[in-house]
Each structure stands twice: as structure tokens, then as C-alpha cells.
Symmetry: C2
Subunit: 173 residues, 2 copies
Amino acid sequence: MQLSDHRIAVLVDKSFEDLEFWVPVMRLREAGAEVIIAGREAETTFTGKHGLTAETVVAARDLEADDLDAVVVPGGWAPDKLRRDEGVTSLVREMDAQNKIVAQICHAGLVGISAGIVEGRPATGSQGIKDDLENAGAEWVDEAAFQDGNLVWGRVVKDIPAFCRTLVTALQS
Amino acid sequence: MQLSDHRIAVLVDKSFEDLEFWVPVMRLREAGAEVIIAGREAETTFTGKHGLTAETVVAARDLEADDLDAVVVPGGWAPDKLRRDEGVTSLVREMDAQNKIVAQICHAGLVGISAGIVEGRPATGSQGIKDDLENAGAEWVDEAAFQDGNLVWGRVVKDIPAFCRTLVTALQS
């Protein structure tokens, strides 16, 4: 399978966007990747905005960027919680420093802002964080999904297919 | 994109299994397919078992097998409703007669039973319909997902990645 040698952390927290989390998780597993569901703490179960659930297996602070190929951040309200955690922001910052894939969709850019990885780079997501991305020095792009170096961006729920396509392509190259 | 010339109907009804419906829909769109959400009636919105929603655009009786490459049936309690509708069962029966892909996961085999397409063939799904599949003449197979000619089968929610992988492979060949 295409990504059978890949280890990918997918972050989750309270009120995550159900499909922005679960569709990439299922898609990466389809491609053979090992998906590690991570958050502020291990073994915590969260309910998404619409009622699906997800459980972390590990705290982000206990993951090493050296051992991962990518980190994926879903939207919903989860990024508002995730961005407050130094374990999360250091992991995202270190992944970026190692030129590894950091994928963000919808409100996920809030994590990128707090990790300090968006300045001077194109970015997209929910209209609700456009001003925050621009104030952090990113250049707002109104596209369904795109890759910019090691960063993969997706806009909103209806753009999940384009986000997954871009993510899988980025991981294969 | 791999499936950009494909038109695929995905059926939905009350209390559908949220991820068994939405993950294949997003996956097929990722591959460029045109996804047509269909059910007993057009323009009806349903809520899944866990709270996600989905809206039909067309009634199954108004779809022609000639115009489709595949039909996908999710699980949850939706198959219990879908199987009662002659528009649904004739579409599934005609797709099978034309040797086109019919994909069923979890409780979806209930639709295959009522469409009369499972006799003498291997099948899988939720343990809850094992007896009904066997009584209809199918041979129960305990596998995550598999293809048998034009039929694609998936077992349960955790097998969605294997189901999608098998489905996309079947559609490409």
C-alpha cells in the first residue's frame, strides 16, 4: 500500500469537526499508514461537534517528530483547545522545522498560528480565522486545498475530498 | 483523477451509519467521481445514528442503472428502510444484472437480500445480519472487506478503510 511505511499523528480535542477528523484518519489507514490519535493528554475521549467520538492514545508531548512522517490537525473547535498546549505547539513547530508534512483544515490554522509556522506563507481555512491568519503574517488563499512545501491546507468540510487528495499526494512524494 | 468519468449512487435513509456513508462519499469525490446521493424519495434529509446529516438529491426509482457505474449502500439502520422500497431494490438488482459494482457494508446486505442478489455468493457485514444472509443463500465470510465479481463487501465501521480500498480498486479495474 502507498503509505504503509508512514506514521502519522492526527490531533483531536473537544468539539472537533467530525468529518475533518474521521475522513482523513480512515483515508490514511486505507493507504496503509499507521495513524496515531494524539491530543493534550493520552486516553481521553472527545465528542465531535455533531456527535461522533474519538479517543487519544498518546499525549502530543510524548511524540517525537523524528518518529513521525506527518501531523494532521482537523477543524471544529478542537484547535482552540489544542493551540493552548505546549506539547502540541512544539510538536507542530518541530515537524515544520524538519520539513515534514503538517496538514491543517478549517480552524486548524489556529494551531499553526500558535506554533509560529504561518508567517510569510500562504494559508487557508474557515473564514472565521482569516483575520487571525493574516495578522499572524500568512497570505490568505481562497482555495479548496493546496500544498505549500511541507504544509498542506484545506478550507472547509466540503473540501475534505480535495484536502485528502492533496495530503496523500504530498505524503507520496 | 482515477474515477473522474464515474457516476456513483450512494444510498441513504434514516439512522444511517454516519461514517459508513460519509467516508465512501468523500473518498469517491476525492477520486473525482460524481456522487449521487439517493434514497426512497428525493430531497429528504436524514440524521445518522450519531448525529451527522445527509440529504438525498434523487429517488432511486428515478435513477437508471445504464447511467451509473456503481451503487454503494451504507449500514446503520438505513438498510431496514431502503430494502422496503421497490425503487431501491430494482436499481440494485439491475446494477447487479449489468455486472456493475454493488458495494455493501455492515447492515447493507439486508438490501442485497431483498434485491435477491446474494444467493450462492460470499458475503459479509454486521454479525447482526449473518443469519439472514445465510438464510438467503449467501456464504458468510468473516473478512474486513473483499470483492467477489461485481460485488464489494465490507464488514463493520472499523473496516471502512479496507472497504474503501477494495471499492476504489474494483472501480478502477
